[in-house]
């Protein structure tokens, strides 16, 4: 039962974060790139003031999969790096924690681009 609730919370919290994004798109005409950027920065801020950590513990993938989770990861990395490396850590931690995500996006992006061809949307092809 506990296991099941874990998924329910991941679904609800993750879904809510996406629904907020949709509200922003529909009401404010924010472009997708701006939404992504705001989410990551919001994640950094929420991570920094300690609000996001409890959400992660509670909702798991529901909090780490949305881009706010990426921002939280950056903040967490920086905090740990400053703890062990002092001021230099401010310039290390973000990339350290984001390394896997960014590297994976670059590498899989490259491979996908080499294999596939771009194609038209929905109505076409």
């Amino acid at each position: 039962m506990d296991m099941f609730m874990e998924y329910v919370w991941a679904f609800l919290v993750g879904g809510l974060l996406c629904a907020i994004g949709q509200v922003l798109i529909d009401l404010t005409k924010l472009t997708p790139a701006r939404i992504l950027t705001s989410y990551v920065v919001a994640g950094v801020v929420l991570g920094a003031i300690g609000v996001y950590e409890p959400i992660v513990n509670f909702a798991g993938g529901g909090a780490t999969v949305p881009l706010t989770g990426f921002g939280y990861l950056l903040a967490k990395g920086v905090r740990e790096a400053v703890d062990s490396n002092g001021i230099l850590g401010a310039f290390m931690g973000g990339f350290t924690n984001a390394a896997v995500g960014i590297s994976a996006a670059i590498f899989f992006g490259l491979i996908a681009a080499l294999i596939f061809k771009s194609g038209s949307k929905i109505n076409e092809t």
């Binding site: 005409k29 997708p32 771009s118 949307k121 109505n123 076409e124």
Partner: protein, 334 residues
């Protein structure tokens, strides 16, 4: 505004001797699919890139039009051609092999009317024996230049229009064979202050209203004098806005207005939001459908008003608005 009335040119010697249209697969599946001269099944048209595919559309549509008029490249005097891409890529690369004197023109989606009125002017003035007007647009090449990569999951808003993969070509001469181009009014740039990239219809509606109003005033006509007033690609939003503007003058276009952007797709079945757009949209609808009807005498007098959003992505990013333009061409069967 309202200072200069502009002029409406009248022609006595300009006839659309042949016309042809080539479209992509989605347009071919639309309600007028069977009217086009060719439907390209592969949207890359057998080439490697979308830009080459668009150039191929122009090449094909001009070829069809020349075949119908039994003209060879050596007998063609001049081409007016344009498209949406930077440097008018579709036109210059698509038409380079014809070795016909070439004038590249840009009026966004209004380009086909611009081409028709320039071609008619040259023929009517007697400078040339014949002149062609060709335009094209391609969904994918426009998407990658103006919006996002094709496989990007960006969301389209309900007011966004769908760039048609299409090309139309018409050859004008003095052959006295219908359809005849009788008059034309050059549009003025109308900046209505619209800044939403996804609402081109609204950016263009003001220009359509202005040009049609001036044209009818100069000709001494009313909407009732025309079988149809055909706009280029105002889409649903732009058409509704234009009706509102006419309503303020007590003029009703009821039952006399058709918008090519609203016709080219089946909006209930095809997910194209506010309708089609692009230089090729109204060009292909004119060349595949309306000009045929005029030739057969089923339409006696039409006013074709192609609308264009003179949008610069750079200016819009800098906070600028989107100016619109519309050119009107009056076409008759007698």
């Amino acid at each position: 505004m309202g200072m200069c009335e502009g002029k409406t040119f009248k022609f006595s010697n300009a006839s659309v001797t042949s016309f042809a249209a080539v479209v992509g697969k989605v347009e071919g599946e639309g309600p007028y699919g069977s009217e086009f001269d060719e439907v390209i099944e592969d949207n890359k048209g057998g080439t490697d890139t979308w830009e080459q595919a668009e150039a191929g559309l122009q090449k094909k549509s001009l070829q069809y039009a020349m075949e119908k008029a039994e003209l060879e490249s050596g007998k063609m005097d001049i081409i007016f051609a344009g498209d949406l891409l930077n440097q008018c890529t579709g036109s210059s690369y698509g038409l380079k092999e014809f070795y016909i004197p070439f004038v590249g023109i840009y009026g966004a989606c209004s380009t086909f009317a611009e081409g028709l009125l320039l071609a008619a002017s040259m023929v009517n003035a007697g400078y040339v024996e014949n002149a062609a007007a060709v335009t094209s647009s391609h969904f994918s090449s426009a998407e990658r230049q103006f919006r996002f990569p094709l496989n990007y999951g960006g969301v389209r808003t309900p007011t966004a229009q769908w760039t048609a993969t299409a090309s139309g070509a018409a050859i004008i001469d003095a052959s006295q064979r219908p359809p005849f181009i009788r008059a034309a009014t050059v549009g003025k740039i109308q900046d209505m202050g619209i800044t939403d990239l996804n609402n081109m219809g609204a950016a263009m509606a003001g220009a359509a209203y202005d040009t049609i109003t001036r044209h009818m005033k100069h000709m001494g006509t009313h909407p009732e004098n025309y079988d149809l007033i055909i706009t280029g690609d105002l889409g649903q939003v732009g058409s509704d806005m234009m009706y509102e503007l006419f309503k303020r003058d007590g003029v009703s276009l009821e039952g006399r207005h058709k918008d090519c952007g609203l016709m080219i797709y089946d909006r209930d079945k095809q997910d194209v939001h506010a309708g089609g757009s692009g230089c090729g949209c109204s060009a292909s609808m004119m060349c595949a459908y309306f000009l045929k009807k005029v030739r057969r005498g089923e339409l006696k007098r039409i006013l074709y008003t192609a609308t264009g959003a003179l949008m610069s992505p750079t200016m819009v990013q800098q906070g600028g608005s989107i100016p619109g333009i519309a050119h009107a061409v009056e076409i008759t069967s007698e």
